[in-house]
């Protein structure tokens, strides 16, 4: 794997407009039963402007940044050997329907361990005002030859 990736500046992704039905679809897929994930009236009663995305919804937006990493021609990452090692979301505020999110990738560490490579990246997501919403942190494990 190319160690220079940690110093690379990746372009921000195109803005992702968070749709109400997309949140509902995702909420059903992760067995989310909370009314604020489905019902605008419940979300507004709880103080939000619209329905609230489940805590892991940010992965949908993060995905575009991971594609930037995996498809970088000089990254040296074989997609078929990639396994998800760990995942974290750190929120300033929850994502709600109507948010327009822009994500910027940075590669924070690349390590080798027993023939495998581990690449940790952060996708920092801001709203249309440029204010921080959530940072998604992933470690991908690229398996070496067996």
């Amino acid at each position: 794997m190319n160690p220079d990736l940690t110093e690379r500046a990746f372009a921000p992704t195109a803005p992702y407009l968070v749709g109400r039905e997309k949140i509902r679809e995702f909420a059903r897929a992760v067995f989310a039963t909370s009314p604020i994930n489905h019902d605008p009236e419940a979300a507004i009663a709880a103080g939000y402007s619209d329905i609230v995305a489940p805590p892991t919804f940010a992965v949908v937006v993060q995905e575009a940044t991971l594609q930037q990493l995996l498809s970088a021609p000089d990254a040296g990452i074989d997609f078929t050997r990639v396994v998800h090692g760990d995942q974290r979301f750190t929120y300033t505020r929850p994502i709600v329907a109507g948010d327009e999110l822009t994500a910027t990738l940075s590669v924070t560490s690349i390590k080798s361990l027993g023939g495998h490579s581990m690449v940790t990246s952060e996708s920092t997501m801001v709203d249309a005002n440029g204010d921080h919403v959530v940072t998604a942190i992933s470690t991908l494990v690229v398996r070496g030859d067996e």
Binding site: E25, F31, Y48, A53, P54, P55, T56, G85, Q87, P94
Partner: protein, 136 residues
């Protein structure tokens, strides 16, 4: 919401089927074929079709959300993927989540999740930091 360290605040069992995986693939945009095609899973040496790790992470926090009643109070959520969940085409997979208070102060509670499938844990260091007050 009164809790003390070590207290189990939520416990829930999820029945995953192949339908669950197809639904998550569509909702998340993760169409890796190892999550719905037996032949592809076998060709890369897997014991069967696997649940998306992010699906497991996604539902494992739901008992915590149901306990606090507001998904917006989840400040931070992390997991390590330590073992795959094989979803049988007929029998599916049964996954159990136990949520226990790991740490507590005036403002936040850290909930530690134990997620079990087939007698083994599938996530490591699965922790959610939850605000005790509304965030909006």
């Amino acid at each position: 919401m009164i809790a003390e360290i070590g207290e189990v605040v939520a416990e829930k069992t999820y029945e995953l089927t192949r339908d669950s995986l197809v639904r998550y693939a569509g909702a998340s945009g993760d169409f890796n074929a190892i999550h719905y095609r037996d032949d592809v899973a076998a060709s890369v040496g897997l014991p069967g079709v696997l649940a998306h790790g992010m699906l497991t992470m996604g539902f494992a926090v739901q008992p915590v959300v149901e306990w606090i009643g507001d998904s917006g109070r989840i400040l931070d959520y992390q997991v390590r993927f330590t073992r795959p969940i094989v979803v049988d085409p007929v029998d599916g997979a049964t996954v159990t989540v136990v949520a226990k208070v790991g740490a507590l102060d005036d403002a936040e509670v850290r909930v530690d999740l134990t997620v079990t499938y087939n007698g083994s844990t599938v996530l490591g260091k699965a922790q959610a930091r939850v605000s005790l007050a509304a965030t909006v």
